[in-house]
Symmetry: C3
Subunit: 330 residues, 3 copies
C-alpha cells in the first residue's frame, strides 16, 4: 500500500536519513539533487529515483512533472535556505507538516513570542542598544548554519560589530554562559504524543577549536557536523515538558493543527541546571543524522532502529492505515 | 521464573536504563517516582508499575508496602544523594550490591586509601595548606554531580576559595592536567570476571563551554550529560588491570565479598599516557545511559545489545538459575 | 571455505575490531600479542589463537612458524611503529594491502606530493625558515600518535622549538585554524568502489583539556582515544570526491594497484567550509574502533553491522569467492 506513495526531498541536509527511513517503511523514494551530486546519491541503494537540477530553485518546474505521481515532500533545513519561505508555501505537492508554522519560525520576533508565551525559559532580548547587558550575541535574521552570529562582551566591540549589520535585520540576545544541547522531538498528531528521539551538540568551526589554540582568534559558528550526547535523567522530564509546551502554544497561536512532526529545541544549560531555549527549528535537524540506526532515547521507545527520518515515514504509514493522511499534509 | 521478581529503583539517574534492562531480561519492573515525574515514567512501556512519592525520603514507608513482593532494589547515584548513606544501609528490601562498600566510597580518606593501596596511580593529596603544589582542586566531602569543586592555581586564589569551605570537610587534591575518561566496569561475583562495558566523558556546565568564550568566566563543574569515547587499544589492558586491582583490594580491605556489580573509575590521562584515578563510583554511573543498545566495548563481549542496566539484570537472572541469589544481595 | 584461512594481526591498535570482524565473516583468528597482554586478549571469545612474544620485533621468527598455515596478515598503525617500514616490506606472510604505498605514506615529502597532485586542498609547507607565515605546526618525520608536534605563532617561539629538532627531519606546515575531522574510507579493488564507513575526531592529551583550564599550559597532542562525529550532508559529496582523487592518483603515482582497503584522510574544516587534508593514513585507523557494530555511514550502505575490520574480512571473503585473492595480497 505504501508503495503507491513516493517520499521525496531535496538532496542535502538530512536527505539520506529521510529516504532510508522511507525505504525501511516500504515507500518508494525520490531525491531531487544538484547535477553535480547525482553520482553521490547513486551510491545509496535505498534511493529509487534521482531527478537532477542545475539549482534547487528549479524545483517549481520539477513539481509540474511530478504532479501525477503520489508524491509526499519532506522538508528539511535546506528548503527555506534554497526555496525561500514563499517557495515553500507555494509548493503544490503534498508537504509533510504545517506550512503556517513557517511564519512563526522565520520571523525572529514571532518566534521569540511563541517561545516566551509557551512558558519556557529564553534569553533576554534587547531592543534598545543602550539597555544591553553584556555579554550578548547579535544574530542576523535568516542567519542559518551558524553564520551571521557575533558574540560581544563590551561597548567598543559592540559598536564595531553592529556596523556589519547596517541595513540588515538583527536581534540582540543575552549570551547565556553554559553548555549547548539540541533536543530532537517528534510530535504525532495521530496519537497526540510527544517523543524525544535523540540529542546532539553541533560541531562548529572554528569556535570548537579555539580551546585548543593558545593565541587569539576571532570565533565563528559555522556548523559542519554534530556529535552525540545524553542528558542527565533528572532533567529529562523537563525536556519533555518544554516540548509539550511549545506544541500546545503553537495550537493556540498558529492554528488548530499547530506544530507537528519533528522539531528541535536548541538549548543552553547553565550551572544551576536551567535550560535556556535559544531557538526552535520546526523541522528535522541535521543532528539527527547521527542516529540512522537509533539512539539511546529512541531505543527506550522502540524495539527496532528508529531514526527521525524513519519516524516521519512511520507517521505517514500510520496515517494511511487510519485513512487520515490529509491531516498531516499541507 | 524471573517474572516472580520485580526489579525496582528510584526514578532518576539511570532508572530508565536499569528498568529497560530488567524488562529485556524478563523481570517485572517498578519505579518509585516523584509525583511530578509519574507522567514522565508512564511514557515507557517497559515499566510495569509506578509508585509515586512526594519526596524520595518517603522511601522507608514505601518499603513496608513492598515487603511481601519479591523486590530487588538496584541502587544508583541518586540513592545516597536522596536517602543518605544511613538510609541505604537501613533498607530492608533486597539490595543489589555490597552495602559495606558505601563506607569506603563516601569517606574521601578511606576511598583514597583504597585506591592507593590497590596500587593504581592517584593524584597527590595535601593535608597541610603550606605543602600545596599548585594547581590543585578542592573538593568538598559529599560533592556530587560536579558541584563543590574549585580549581586553584595560586596562593591568593586558594585563600579566597578555601573560605567557602569553612566548617565543611574537604580534600585538596593535585590537579592533574590531562583529558578525562570514565571507565564503566562490571564485576561478576558468579564468574569472578571483570568486564569493561563502556566509556564516556562527562558534559559539564559551564566548564565545557569555556573554550568557546573569549572573555574570563568562573568555571563550574556541574554534570548535565555525557558523551561517548573509546580508548587507545594499547591502553585497554591497563584499564582492565586497574579495575581488577580495585576489586581485589576491596575483598581484602572491606570484606570477603568486596566490590561487585557495576562501578566506574574516573580517570585523567596525561600526555605520557598515564592514568590517574581521581575517584571511584561503586555503582552504575550515568555515563552508561549513552549505551542503551550496547557500546563498542560491550559489543566485543556480547552478541546482543548489552547495557550496564541489562548486565545487572543478567547477573541476577544467572544467580537465580544457579541458586546463588543471596550472594549478590545485601 | 573461509575457515581454511586465518586472519592475523599484532595485538594493539585495532586488533580487537579486525579479529571480531574476521570472526563475524567466518575466518579463523590469531593474534600475536605481547606476553603481558596475553591474558587481556584471552577475554575475547572471537580470538581463536594467541601467540605470545616478548617484543613485536620477534615477529619475523613467528612468521617462520606460521608459514604452513594459510595466514593473512592485516596491518594497522602499530605495524610500522614496531616493525619499521623495512620490517613490513620483508614480511613473507600474505599481507592485505599494497606495500608499495608505504614509501609514499612515510616519506613526508612524497606524501605531500601525492596529496597535492591529487588535487585536494593541503596546508602550505615552508622549506625556508625565513618564509614562514605564522601560525605553523612543526612535525618531525615519523611522528606518530600525535607526539612530536609543535604549534608556534611567532618567531621567538619558533626559534626555541626548532632547537628540539636538531639532527631530525621535520616539516613546517601552515597551521589551519578550524575543526578536525577524520574520514574513514574503504576502497574495494574488486568492485572499484569507494565507501565512507565512519568519521571521528581524536581525543588528545592534554590539548583537548586546555579549554577547561584557566591558566597557561604547554599543549601536547598525544592521541589517547576517539569520539564520534557526523558531517553536514552537503559536504559529504566532497568527502567522497577527495577519497576518490587520492585513490586514483595513487594508481598513477605508485603502481597500477595503488591504494586499496581502508584509509583515512585527516582533515581540518575552516569557517568557509573548506577541507584541508593534513595527512593520510593508508590503513585502518584507531578511530574506527568506535564503530564495532556499525556507524551512521556504514548503516547507509549495509543492512547489517559493518565495521572497517569486518569490511576488510568481507573483501577477503569476496575475493576468495571470485578466485581473486592474489589481487588484494602483497
Amino acid at each position: 500500500m505504501n508503495k503507491q506513495y513516493t517520499i521525496t526531498t531535496l538532496g542535502s541536509h538530512s536527505a539520506l536519513q529521510i529516504l532510508k527511513g522511507a525505504h525501511d517503511e516500504s515507500f518508494k523514494t525520490l531525491v531531487v539533487a544538484l547535477k553535480k551530486h547525482v553520482s553521490f546519491y547513486q551510491r545509496f541503494s535505498f534511493i529509487d529515483e534521482i531527478i537532477s537540477v542545475n539549482a534547487f530553485s528549479e524545483f517549481p518546474e520539477i513539481e509540474k512533472k511530478l504532479k501525477d505521481k503520489k508524491i509526499i515532500v519532506i522538508p528539511h533545513g535546506s528548503f527555506v535556505a534554497y526555496l525561500g519561505m514563499e517557495g515553500n508555501k507555494k509548493m503544490t505537492l503534498s508537504y509533510f507538516g504545517n506550512k503556517k508554522v513557517l511564519d512563526f519560525e522565520f520571523d525572529r520576533v514571532k518566534q521569540g513570542e511563541w517561545l516566551k508565551k509557551s512558558g519556557i525559559n529564553t534569553p533576554k532580548e534587547f531592543k534598545n542598544i543602550n539597555d544591553v547587558e553584556f555579554p550578548v550575541i547579535i544574530k542576523s535574521y535568516g542567519a542559518a548554519g551558524g553564520k551571521g552570529y557575533f558574540l560581544v562582551n563590551n561597548q567598543k566591540d559592540f559598536i564595531n560589530k553592529i556596523k556589519l549589520f547596517r541595513n540588515k535585520k538583527f536581534v540582540i540576545q543575552q549570551y547565556i554562559i553554559g553548555v549547548p544541547l539540541y533536543i530532537h522531538y517528534f510530535y504525532s498528531p495521530l496519537t497526540k504524543t510527544l517523543e524525544i528521539l535523540s540529542m546532539d551538540r553541533r560541531y562548529e568551526t572554528n569556535v570548537d577549536a579555539l580551546g585548543r589554540i593558545l593565541f587569539n582568534v576571532d570565533p565563528s559558528y559555522v556548523v559542519v557536523g554534530n556529535s552525540p550526547l545524553v542528558l542527565r535523567e533528572s532533567m529529562l522530564p523537563e525536556a519533555y515538558e518544554m516540548g509539550e509546551k511549545v506544541v500546545k502554544k503553537s495550537q493556540e497561536l498558529i492554528n488548530r493543527q499547530g506544530l507537528f512532526g519533528p522539531f528541535c529545541l536548541e538549548t543552553i544549560i547553565t550551572p544551576d541546571q536551567k535550560f535556556y531555549v535559544i531557538e526552535i527549528s520546526a523541522r528535522i535537524v541535521a543532528g539527527t543524522n547521527l542516529f540512522i540506526e537509533g539512539s539511546p532515547y529512541a531505543d527506550l521507545l522502540y524495539n527496532e532502529p528508529m531514526s527521525t527520518g524513519r519516524r516521519i515515514a512511520r507517521e505517514i504509514k500510520n496515517s494511511i492505515k487510519e485513512n487520515r493522511l490529509k491531516e498531516i499534509l499541507d
